[in-house]
Symmetry: C3
């Protein structure tokens, strides 16, 4: 009870500060909100992307039309409200959806019900507070490491060329999460996040996810170090840890990208521990109102077991993106993975795992 | 066939009346609607609410981030159209969604797929007709008794402090429902509703829900009597009946609330008949641009069985709500239930049942 | 690899053409889209329709409130972008939803989770390109034959009176589809579509759907020939083929409709081959700001098996639609099917199969 009274006191103090900052905007006490504020001010945005996908592999060829090939299809609602004194509140509610088909026949192409996200509003959905202190987001959101990986990858984490084909992240969203982003200081951005599990009781560390990123940016250069970690359900050890070091330098005629990610741990449901080092080098070359992208990624499997040696792999990827207008783009991409020692890594895209070790995409997207 | 011809005749007559009321707005006969009316005029609204929930109870502590703690998260679409002659048509389509996580690990925290509602557009979704006769809503909607309970409860049916922790309503929405609201007469509002089941054949009373409310309001005072009733699938008897008498008086410096609800019947799937009387007394005290809320609720279990005595309980609740702006609010709430004779009532919130008999909430909400 | 290089070259050429057509609108190369284009320009539209449904049949009577009786309830998002040079890009993302109830108790009334569509955005959802060459839609969409059938049917494929009660189409949407529509030439419209399945490997013809339509329109007259075909999962033969010939002539005081559809094949999951000829004749009569609709449909079952003779049937249907305003309409409809030799065809509506061989509807709809 003492702690609770303390929190109430802190909250009252916070309310006092906020009221002092913005006395003019305070509503009548206890007035029902609807009586004084007509609802308005929500922005709708999203993307509809459809592409032809041609997968090739040992099992044969698969020709499909797929939604969200270059970037997952989404529909979002967002808004922002000035709180005065340099403070601002906001919200984002974003759902994935399937534009191609609502079912999947092949296990290799299985999509979750919302294609990119396992539920309605299953993509980034959070309430936000920004101010001189930085920013806080509360809800479901990208791991900060995943966000930076998508910037480092010349393909932006999309199409067959995505580095994610090799450098897996075990789920791009962190639920029940709170993220703090510090203000930019001397070119440095620091963010930390904590994803609480959904514990009914017992250790509240069960299934907890942690993340952090430290990113330096200056003009054409960026370099970042990020961490992602998920706890086993017993709460005692890291089930998976991703440490990423990456960045880019934009020379104008060409932008050079590089990334190293080490993934270790023993994820729940996986038979054996993992220990993988992914190394990516890539280029982006402006070409008219578009760009050419290319990457080479080496997947160094550092485990070795009785029944097979280490399953190293590497991927070559080549792509082209062209903006017809600011909203409408067309793209083509190709990637091939060479697996070793019976490895089964496939070339997929943000909406599908893919069915073979080689894939070609050709598509069009409308960002609204 | 005779009945059908009669209905057609009545409909034609109604159409004639409507045409007479608004001759100018009638479209060309048989013209396709799209050709003459560009689509427009839909309002989007909703809420994104995230809170920290700390549950305590015999099984231990649970610390979680939860969406929709003070009020369920929703996204809605609505519109209104003048029919002339004092008549107006409208629609509301509202869905719940999960902002925290898309799955639930603990049975105590289980949420339906849309967190507040078991399907897309699973909250209030109805087409409306208003006029001098009053109003008719057809579709899925709140029981009128539940709507009034949320007004009588100082917590508005939200946060840990909700009176619904004790005074359960077995589902806040009535599907397949038609509601009639009479015009206000001398301060009195009367409404009645009928929720048809989904019968494939046989008695169309299967699963039927009935509701009614009579509410008197004048300046600072309100008092209401409401009824909710659901029929067993055999159609012969009431499976559950809630009778609520409640109201408030606003003295300015403090608003006083009181409520009594009797729940009786033998709901499908429940082993034993229920007979419960819930008595709530509460206060709302304006405090700056916010308010303090407090309630005491006594749960009088009027049944007694061989294996246990009556499972009475009571709940203390305290909360604070502060509006940072007309759209953005912060809140804190605490509630504790004392169970007797092995009762297992938990402190939850609109989106979760809760995992313990005590809970603390701290959160922020954005109404858009 | 050679093919892939060829496609890249073609894409680059296409990009060059597009850039030449609209040099002013090209963004800076490689600029992130968000930095230069504030998101805007999405139109929201939809429909909320609720009706009383009274089904009668051998099993008894069912009285229900149903959403989407005259036309399935939907909510859509769409937009359009000028590409210059006579080209235009667009998108449509449309979902069904249930306005009545989220579950179904009777098998006869079973609705998919989204009532008209089995998933979120399960109705027409595609990205589009229009130009002097015609139009291309890629994504999930109506079969072209189904679209024309809804125009030929005086009931527009809605209410109890829908010809679809007899002339089934086994799923009104084609997933993973690409459709090409030729420019109108001398009154002729031609369209062809191909719905790829979701093959993981092997024959990419598995589950493929094909469609085509040739429609002639001139003033008050229209006549069309359409084809729909779905392949068995073994890819060797047509699982179902619908060939439709239909049209109308509008005399002003009355519009006359006629349609013949032959359905043949052996759909997956159906015990015996089907061979059905549906013949429909109908009238639309303007009446004030509304219209009266009537049809007679004969369902000629051309199969005959050991355990039963051919299950012919016929349907009489009568309806009335009245526009209160451009957005708000009321409707009534009645239909009865006479089954022969133990046939079990039921009178349904766009959202339900129905529970009896006779049904009456009375409802109101709001198009927004």
């Amino acid at each position: 009870m003492n702690k609770i009274l303390l929190v109430f006191a802190l909250l009252a103090a916070f309310a006092g500060i906020a009221a002092a900052q913005d006395p003019a905007s305070g509503p009548d006490p206890v007035a029902p909100k609807d009586a004084i504020a007509p609802r308005a001010g929500v922005t709708i945005y999203g993307r509809l992307d459809m592409g032809l996908v041609v997968d090739s592999g040992p099992a044969g060829r698969s020709v499909r039309l797929t939604g969200g090939v270059a970037k997952g299809n989404d529909l979002g609602f967002k808004g922002s409200e000035d709180l005065g004194g340099g403070y601002r509140a906001g919200f984002v509610a974003e759902t994935g959806y399937c534009a191609d088909s609502t079912t999947s026949s092949g296990s290799g192409t299985t999509s979750p019900p919302y294609c990119t996200g396992s539920n309605f509003m299953g993509r980034g959905t959070h309430v936000d507070l920004y101010g001189p202190f930085g920013g806080i987001n509360v809800g479901r959101q990208y791991p900060v490491g995943h966000s930076y990986l998508m910037l480092v990858d010349p393909f932006g984490g999309g199409t067959a060329g995505q580095v994610l084909n090799l450098a897996d992240v075990s789920g791009p969203y962190v639920s029940n999460a709170i993220r703090y982003m510090a203000p930019t200081l001397g070119g440095f951005n620091f963010a930390v996040e904590l994803g609480l599990g959904e514990p009914s009781h017992g250790s509240w560390a069960d299934g907890r996810e942690n993340g952090a990123s430290l990113i330096y940016g200056s003009g054409p250069a960026s370099v970042g170090l990020t961490l992602y970690e998920v706890r086993n359900s017993n709460g005692f050890e890291s089930a998976r840890r991703n440490v990423l070091l990456g960045g880019w330098y934009d020379f104008g005629v060409v932008k050079v990208h590089a990334m190293a990610q080490r993934s270790t741990g023993h994820p729940t449901g996986v038979a054996l521990p993992i220990d993988v080092l992914d190394l990516m080098a890539g280029l982006t070359v402006p070409a008219g109102a578009g760009k050419v992208m290319a990457t080479y990624t080496h997947h160094d499997d550092r485990t070795s077991f009785a029944d097979h040696g280490d399953q190293d792999a590497h991927q070559w990827a080549l792509g082209y993106l062209y903006w017809l207008t600011r909203r409408v783009s067309i793209y083509a991409a190709w990637a091939r993975i060479t697996n070793q020692n019976g490895g089964k890594l496939t070339v997929g895209n943000p909406s599908e795992h893919g069915t073979g070790n080689e894939s070609f995409n050709l598509g069009m997207a409308y960002d609204f």
